[in-house]
Amino acid sequence: MAERQDHDSLFKALADPSRRKLLDLLHASDGRTLNELCEHLDMSRQGVTQHLAVLEAANLVATVWRGREKLHFLNPVPLQEIYERWIAKFEKPRLKALGDLKRRLEKSNG
């Protein structure tokens, strides 16, 4: 149940172009303030604050206070979990094939 709730909030957070743009901005340059993020979005400050709150609730954005500045960071951990759940297993057969090929080629060289 808990995992389902985590994933529901994650996919809801991702299902909005403005929020994906915020993640792209943080991916390009991490540790930004609200003001810096507002410069790049055609949206009210309040709107950006609300989108950031959704991203933070989904754990896609983490914040750190530095003095009086609140800095926003892209937190890749939930995306890593998605990768492990749906993608990592498809790499194993491909990797095994590469490993087998390497062994066969090196054997024929020797």
Binding site: D6, V77, K92
Partner: protein, 156 residues
């Protein structure tokens, strides 16, 4: 001053004490989620700290700057194995464990006083995998990934 920082946050359904042990004193448990690596230290302020590969090579070393079990740990952390990363000098890794409902929020902030930093780039690839494995191991009893960099190991 220019600095590079990465921040990782995860919520793990466990207790502060179990998570603290998993991150510090329980070396055998650590090897399971940290791809064979474990850390050695007395885990008190001023104590030496080192990270050791399964073959005994020291990958990183430093010192415990702050230790408040089971809440907060700060490590002065310098890479030792690759010359270009070692040359970047000391980084600072802060781990905070905070109970939130039935889970513990683990925050890891890793900073070095230079921008850009190859070291921070290198650890940024590792931390999400390690934390994700740790979460999986504590919550379900098994890890999610057995190899840290499967694509690279296949190329060797």
């Amino acid at each position: 001053m220019a600095r590079s920082t990465f921040v990782y946050v995860t919520y793990i359904r466990t207790t502060q004490q179990k998570l603290w042990s998993a991150l510090t004193t329980d070396a055998e448990f650590m090897k399971q989620y940290w791809f064979g690596v474990h850390c050695q230290s007395e885990w008190v302020p001023g104590a030496k700290w080192k990270m050791v590969y399964s073959d005994g090579t020291i990958s990183d070393s430093g010192e415990i700057l702050e230790a408040e079990p089971p809440r907060r740990l700060v490590i002065r952390w310098q890479h030792q194995n690759k010359p270009e990363l070692k040359a970047e000098g000391d980084s600072r890794c802060t781990l905070e464990l905070e109970p939130v409902g039935s889970a513990v929020k683990l925050s890891i902030v890793h900073t070095i006083e230079r921008e850009p930093s190859q070291f921070i780039e290198a650890v940024s690839g590792g931390w999400p995998k390690i934390i994700s494995n740790l979460k999986s191991l504590l919550e379900t009893g098994s890890i999610a990934l057995a190899e840290p960099y499967p694509a690279q190991s296949a190329q060797r």
